[in-house]
């Protein structure tokens, strides 16, 4: 009975995190973007600085009509948002925020592989949406999504492998436990490549070619309305939380802080994740969108060689110090 309670509690906590953190990132994006552009952003919903804006948005989305285009493939069209969103929920289960059994949803033996594998599945949702909408803009968006995933999955995987090599384990808590401060300069290239490739996989600006509004309306999500559209948006923000959490865990030492902070480790994880999320928003406001060919070139000619160099460096240093 106690085991069942334990599992239920863990699932509940992860689910609550899954429901709240993306909204917090979304609200932060509203406000940070606004202030960077000399605006105020939402100010009325909820009273204090528009804190309830996204809840109001959610209510609005829930009220809208759920339209399925006449020519669409009904079932695939309706299933796509769930396929896009659920993988991120699963990934959150495996990300540790503090030391010990209690601070991770489920300890996995091959956590790094689990996380990257399941994140890749989420893209299937965009592909299904793009094809099933019976809309040429959606199809183009789906094509771009697929091309982007194929280009950026490799550097992401290679840099994650580099960290796993350094730590000598593929379990996420194991990697953080093995972290030392000097890993930061050692793995810095890998960290940058991982973060950038992750941004591209999430289709965040400046890598938002698949949803480029000035060219293909909203890519694979063009035909979606109401709650299903909201689910796609939620998937994007859940993706930001997952990517920032993963970068923190793999490259920034997770719960390790400058003062060794025992007991407050989870705070460090959250802080680092929040800083990275801020960076994601900052990048969106700062850089213009890359062109599709620039996007591909960037991955194959820069990120892949860099990640290979990082793996070589990791291997050499690992052999030297052991």
């Amino acid at each position: 009975m106690n085991d069942v309670l334990d599992v239920a509690l863990r699932l509940l906590v992860v689910f609550v995190v899954f429901l709240t953190f993306p909204l917090i990132v979304g609200q932060t994006e509203h406000k940070v973007m606004a202030h960077m552009q000399g605006r105020l952003g939402p100010m009325y919903a909820g009273g204090f600085h528009g804190w309830a804006q996204l809840i109001a948005d959610g209510v609005k989305f829930a009220q809208k009509e759920d339209v399925v285009p006449a020519g669409a493939d009904r079932r695939v069209f309706q299933l796509a948002p769930a396929v896009a969103l659920l993988p991120y929920l699963l990934v959150l289960l495996a990300i540790p925020i503090g030391p010990g059994e209690g601070a991770v949803g489920q300890v996995l033996d091959a956590g790094v592989f689990f996380v990257l594998a399941v994140m890749g599945v989420g893209v299937l949702g965009s592909l299904m949406a793009g094809w099933a909408s019976a809309n040429k803009f959606s199809l183009l968006g789906g094509l771009r999504t697929a091309a982007q995933l194929l280009a950026y999955e490799l550097p992401m995987l290679l840099t994650a492998a580099s960290v796993a090599m350094a730590a000598g384990t593929v379990s996420l808590p194991g990697i953080v436990a093995a972290f030392h401060w000097w890993w930061l300069p050692w793995q810095i290239t890998g960290a940058l490549v991982f973060f950038v490739a992750g941004l591209a996989e999430l289709q965040r600006p400046p890598f938002d070619m698949p949803v480029a509004d000035s060219e293909i309306i909203f890519g694979a999500y063009t035909e979606y309305t109401g709650l299903r559209f909201a689910l796609f948006l939620l998937a994007e923000y859940a993706g930001i939380v997952v990517l920032c959490g993963l970068t923190t865990v793999l490259f920034l030492g997770g719960w390790h802080g400058p003062w060794g902070a025992d007991g407050l480790g989870w705070l460090w994880t959250l802080l680092k994740t929040a800083v990275l999320a801020f960076l994601v928003i900052w990048l969106r406001v700062t850089y213009p969108r890359l062109r599709e060919d620039q996007l591909q070139k960037f991955s194959w000619t820069l990120l892949v060689p860099l990640s290979l160099a990082q793996i070589a460096l990791t291997g050499v240093i690992k052999v030297v110090i052991s």
């Binding site: 695939v76 091959a110 890749g120 893209v123 299937l124 771009r144 194929l150 995987l157 070139k297």
Partner: protein, 239 residues
């Protein structure tokens, strides 16, 4: 689970008629996988076939998990569901796969394909049964398929096949490059110097296609300088 009157086999300590929960789950997932695989090859809707393939491959990953081989399961999801199927869908989208049935989505080789499939399945079942016979995985003890165990057996006992496999993959990569280059040389007089926006994604298929088969995209028209840069990465990734 349910107390079925067990006919105890003399050789094996485990009877086949008193299954545990894990065994029942294994069987059910296996049935789902088999059903999905059948639909994959029989459906007339091209993209649906690819999506049912996702179910079949995912079911296989769950089977690996139930056999305690966690690492293999995640790699299965990563490579097959995450990359191969995405590549497949990408190819299907390039052909403007229609929504609804494609009446011509059939091949005259139906019976030959069935024969090959049955022969392959027979050979596999025979090999597996012959290799493992009445071996049982002890689920209560330490997991038998953890990453550490898999890695050790791979690099201690199976290094030679592993390296042979990597040479095979290298050959496939080189073949893919040769094929895409040849297609480019053929297509050169037809295509003008216009840079169409699809140039990027098509470029991406050439290196990525090599993960599966070298003949996946013989028609990739734009083999730019990026193509040769990719194979070392792919090769490393395959390792």
């Amino acid at each position: 689970m349910s107390p079925v009157p067990a006919v105890s086999l003399a050789a094996a300590p485990h009877g086949f008629l008193s299954p545990t929960g894990v065994e029942i789950a294994f069987l059910l997932v296996g049935l789902v996988t088999f059903g999905a695989a059948l639909v994959t090859v029989t459906t007339r809707q091209l993209v649906h076939a690819a999506l049912w393939l996702v179910v079949a491959l995912g079911g296989l990953a769950v089977e690996y998990l139930l056999l305690t081989a966690e690492f293999i399961a995640w790699v299965q999801v990563l490579i097959y569901v995450g990359s191969v199927v995405v590549l497949l869908l990408f190819g299907l989208m390039l052909t403007k796969a229609p929504i609804g049935r494609s009446p011509d989505a059939d091949s005259g080789n139906r019976w030959a394909a069935l024969a090959v499939a049955v022969a392959a399945a027979g050979a596999l079942v025979w090999v597996v049964v012959d290799a493992f016979r009445a071996t049982w995985i002890d689920l209560d003890g330490p997991a038998a398929g953890t990453t550490a165990v898999t890695g050790q057996s791979l690099f201690r006992h199976w290094v030679l096949p592993f390296e042979a496999l990597s040479v095979l993959l290298l050959a496939a990569l080189v073949g893919a490059i040769v094929l895409s280059r040849k297609a480019k040389a053929d297509a050169e007089p037809n295509t003008g110097p216009t840079s169409d926006p699809n140039a990027g994604p098509v470029t991406a298929t050439a290196p990525a296609a090599t993960r599966t088969t070298p003949t996946a995209t013989p028609g990739a028209p734009t083999a730019t300088a990026t193509t040769p840069a990719a194979p070392p990465g792919d090769q490393e990734g395959a390792r």
